[in-house]
């Protein structure tokens, strides 16, 4: 069950559960990947004039000086946008609590509300020339008071949107009473012990190595539009573009090519550029491309994480939580295109693997004159877990008990699933955990990190004059949210298997894991299977890649599609072999009678037979023509209820999310002089149900943990009081290099999900979720100073030491 992560090199056949090498790599290691900016070599380039002010009114835009630039093609401002294009961008996820949702215009109309908001679009021969023109455009601004910092914004001395009182976009309360009917506040009042404290989490961001990008081709003869976008949802970008342009949906195709990382930011859509670039391409009848640069990504995409949390907790002598009351101030930046998903996720996933007596959570989602906040890997969970795990540690400290004992006292037990937390989750469905084994997970983690022997290790370190500490953090992650995904599987007469699904890929290895599912379900060689994702020409119905959902939702849809194909193949084979379909199986792409391998027929031949032909063009197809065999004269060539071709399409729509879980532990060392914080060991126990490819799951965990380490120790969006982002570059925003990420030790626990045919749960976001909580706990343990904010730099730790 438990498995250490070492690459293996033994022969693999590519089926479910194996460490198969990735399909994607052959092109990516030879420079043959096709990322957005690798396309459209002859396209014109777009560039944008963006607001240098956090809050300002546009008095005038003077483009005169730019008009003489050689190579300039066009300049557009908001006033040039026709009809619905001039309206605000969609509010993607409305919610009744989001009473004051606001979205930006594709190009700023009258007021800019954060540094980086697009004001003017320039189209030119190449990017250099487009930026030359941008630099010559003069925008006259009347500077307004910027609103920066969530607590300042909540005081509402100044407003981000004139028509949003108090800067409050949304306010929401969820309350789950105790089994005896008492409210959280009553339970806390009556509890033997109570604590109250404040927690603070800084802004970070996804920062994929490839920024966003859009490349549009208008076909005037066909009156159709093809758009490539570095997006996490090509199907929804397509619908948004068709709606904005009034084009028939079949006249718009959107393709996500190779995408250089997403981590959430690319699920937001349509970005202004996803509307403006295709619009200009159609208007000018020219190919146009925009490739986001790094500074643009920092100041005009999206950030996440920033929250202030006020916590009150009541508990008994064993550390069991009797009541928990959390009030969250959530900084949503200047706009709310993605609704209030992040604070809803924080509010609900805060509960983790625990049974809380009574729970009350209230959040206010607050506007500030900063970049908008939308999901970043973890999507509100790191903040929720930081809150709950810091709470557990404070309870343990208050009672003088082992921190893992306090957690164990609160765990949901293995025999209590399905476990209803009594809340509404981010998909509007009940928060019911499907399966898990938290006590076993904790046991494995304590063994992996050596929890029980740590006091001896600490004593040894102390004897050497070194300060070390250990921390632990637990989480539960709702994964695989609906509403649905689909899969299409087609076997062609050459025996190859073509698979498509609508959701997109940003490095997760979907081509590989989906091919593993198909190889297993269909009994075909892995090498024969090819997978296409995120191309609306191949599959039009999809939601997108987010919320650790691809393996769960598309994986199961593809498995179900395979089962349809398999059934059809066996039916045709049974006719051809004059056998009972129940006696047939498929091995290595050949259908044969169990126990009689000579009675067999390859899937390639079945594919031919499945498609009755009039015309032949090779030996294979000749066998399917009308005079080649003697079918029953009483039956039509394609039977009732049948379709030609050996293919199947199916969808998987989960009843609700499936809940993955995990626990991390770290040992850190703090330098007594410099306050440098070094992670000595990092251990992960992870449960995402059945593993399709353990190598890929471990890779996902590694990447998540590294982002978590960034969020815990280094990454922070530094805004000054004017709303200027002071560290909008990789020079100043400190993403971890190899030297900052410790070796990550992993072990897997597999509690299959009972909700889906494959028994899988999502794995994409998991690694990042508890890291801030774990590192905070370990630093606190080393230093004996309460840690209530993240990230923590050596300077921060030094200041905490001085204040002690």
């Amino acid at each position: 069950m438990s498995e250490r992560s070492e690459p293996t090199r033994e022969h693999v056949t590519g089926v479910f559960g194996e460490r198969v090498q990735r399909r994607e790599d052959a092109r990516l290691i030879t420079g043959r990947g096709r990322f957005l900016d690798d396309l459209g070599g002859n396209a014109l380039a777009a560039a944008f004039v963006r607001s240098p002010h956090a809050h300002a009114r546009i008095r005038d835009i003077d483009v005169a000086a730019a008009l003489d630039v050689d190579g300039l093609v066009a300049i557009y401002t908001w006033e040039d946008l026709p009809g619905v294009l001039a309206e605000p961008l969609p509010l993607l996820i409305p919610h009744p609590a989001l009473t004051h949702g606001r979205t930006a215009y594709p190009l700023a109309r009258e007021v800019v509300r954060h540094v980086g908001e697009p004001v003017v679009m320039v189209v030119a021969r190449d990017r250099y020339v487009a930026e030359d023109a941008c630099s010559l455009i003069e925008v006259d601004y009347e500077i307004l008071k910027p609103v920066v910092g969530v607590e300042e914004a909540a005081q509402a001395a100044h407003l981000v949107h004139e028509d949003v009182p108090g800067n409050v976009a949304a306010h929401m309360v969820q309350e789950v009473p105790a089994p005896d009917g008492r409210s959280a506040r009553e339970a806390i009042e009556a509890a033997p012990h109570t604590l109250a404290f404040r927690l603070d989490i800084e802004r970070s961001a996804c920062t994929p190595l490839e920024g966003k990008g859009v490349y549009a081709r208008w076909d005037a003869d066909d009156e159709s539009l093809r758009v490539y976008s570095s997006t996490q949802t090509s199907t929804s970008v397509r619908m948004a573009i068709a709606a904005k342009f009034g084009l028939p949906l079949p006249k718009v195709e959107v393709i996500a090519p190779d995408v250089g990382g997403g981590f959430g930011v690319k699920i937001v859509h349509p970005w202004p550029e996803e509307i403006l670039v295709p619009w200009a391409a159609r208007l000018l009848d020219r190919e146009i491309k925009w490739t986001e640069d790094r500074r643009e990504h920092f100041i005009s995409s999206a950030h996440e994480r920033a929250q202030v949390q006020y916590v009150r907790v009541g508990f008994d002598d064993d550390g069991r939580v009797l009541g928990l009351d959390v009030n969250i101030l959530h900084d949503n930046g200047a706009y709310t295109p993605y609704g209030i998903i992040v604070p809803i996720v924080t509010s609900t996933q805060l509960l983790g693997p625990y049974k809380i007596g009574a729970y009350r959570v209230e959040f206010s989602s607050i506007y500030t004159n900063t970049v908008q906040v939308t999901p970043y890997r973890g999507a509100g969970r790191p903040q929720g877990v930081f809150c709950m795990e810091r709470t557990m540690d404070r309870i343990a400290a208050h009672l003088g008990r082992d921190r893992t004992d306090v957690r164990a006292a609160n765990f949901i037990q293995p025999d209590e699933f399905p476990y209803d937390q009594g809340m509404t989750f981010q998909d509007g469905r009940p928060l019911i955990y499907d399966s898990g084994d938290y006590p076993e997970s904790l046991r494995m983690l304590k063994e992996l990190i050596g929890w029980d022997s740590f006091p001896a290790m600490r004593a040894q370190a102390a004897a050497e004059g070194r300060t070390i500490g250990i921390g632990v953090g637990c989480y539960v992650e709702g994964t695989g949210v609906g509403p649905y995904e689909g899969g299409h599987v087609q076997v062609t007469s050459d025996g190859r298997v073509h698979v498509s699904t609508g959701l997109t890929s940003q490095g997760q290895g979907h081509e590989t894991v989906f091919a593993q599912i198909v190889a297993t379900e269909l009994g075909v060689p892995f090498e024969k299977v090819s997978v296409v994702t995120g191309d609306t020409r191949r599959f039009g119905y999809a939601v997108g890649t987010f919320a650790s959902r691809a393996a769960v939702v598309s994986g199961n849809a593809i498995a179900l599609a395979c089962r349809k194909v398999r059934e059809k193949a066996l039916r045709i084979a049974a006719d051809a072999l004059e056998a009972d379909p129940r006696d047939l199986e498929i091995t290595d792409g050949v259908v044969h009678v169990v126990g009689a391998p000579s009675a067999s027929i390859p899937l390639s031949t079945i594919a031919v037979l499945s498609n009755p032909l009039r015309y032949a063009f090779d030996d294979e197809t000749r066998r399917a023509t009308q005079f080649a065999s003697s079918p029953s004269p009483d039956r039509p060539p394609v039977g009732e209820g049948e379709e030609p071709g050996l293919e199947g399409r199916d969808y998987y729509s989960p009843i609700r999310s499936t809940f993955a879980s995990g626990m991390h532990a770290a040992i850190v060392e703090t330098d007594p002089l410099t306050a440098e914080i070094k992670i000595l060991r990092y251990a992960v126990v992870h449960d995402c149900g059945k593993l399709i490819n353990p190598m890929i799951v471990e890779g996902q965990i590694h990447g998540g943990v590294a982002q978590g380490v960034g969020g815990a120790l280094y990454e922070k969006m530094v805004y000054d009081q004017h709303g200027q982002l002071l560290n909008a570059s990789f020079m100043d925003f400190l993403m971890p290099y190899a030297t900052e990420v410790p070796r990550i030790e992993t072990a897997h626990l597999e509690t299959p999900s009972p909700l889906n045919p494959l028994g899988v749960k999502g794995a994409g976001e998991a690694g990042v979720i508890p890291v801030s909580a774990v590192i905070a706990a370990a630093i606190e343990d080393a230093e004996g100073i309460p840690i209530d904010r993240m990230p923590i730099s050596p300077s921060d730790l030094h200041a905490l030491r001085l204040a002690r």
Binding site: S5, Q21, Y128, E210, D258, G261, R294
Partner: protein, 163 residues
């Protein structure tokens, strides 16, 4: 206004003589990608921090986003497209695939070029040396765990093949 003056340059890219006519401000990364069509070299930050654009200039790793194309006229450049020889993947390329040393693959060309030069100069590195060698390249997907393994594995493959 500002009609830019182009300069004729000749580069030997992956062993092939290539000519281009570029303005003085054209970055080597843009020249490779847009003038020569070698899009394997990626641009991640445009300010020399992430290392995605790393190519080999006369065998040494450089940031092509910090290099003007006109300044390398006449020099030899190796990009990710030139790491395989005669259709056979290099040990570094094979090791990255074998060890799952890449996910989205955007930073990968920079790592491959960096590791190729490093292992040429230091064919049997220890852990610290590997860490040092790749510590100028950013990856947002892998957490570097398998990149480190891949560099060690590439050294192994190189040694095996040297016999």
């Amino acid at each position: 206004m500002n009609h830019t003056v182009n300069h004729a340059i000749t580069l030997v890219v992956n062993g092939v003589v290539r000519e281009a006519s570029v303005p003085a401000r054209r970055l080597l990364s843009d020249c490779l990608r847009h003038d020569l069509g070698l899009t394997g070299t990626h641009v991640g930050c445009e300010h020399g921090v992430c290392g995605a654009c790393t190519v080999l200039l006369d065998g040494e790793p450089v940031r092509s986003c910090l290099t003007f194309a006109v300044t390398v006229d006449g020099r030899e450049i190796t990009t990710v497209e030139g790491l395989a020889t005669g259709g056979e993947l290099s040990p570094v390329q094979r090791a990255f695939a074998e060890c799952h040393g890449l996910q989205c693959g955007f930073c990968t060309p920079g790592f491959l070029c960096t590791a190729t030069a490093f292992l040429r100069d230091n064919p049997a590195p220890d852990d610290e040396e590997v860490l040092e060698a790749i510590s100028g390249n950013l990856c947002r997907c892998t957490g570097y765990q398998n990149i480190i393994k891949a560099v060690h594995r590439a050294a192994e493959i190189q040694a095996e093949e040297a016999g």
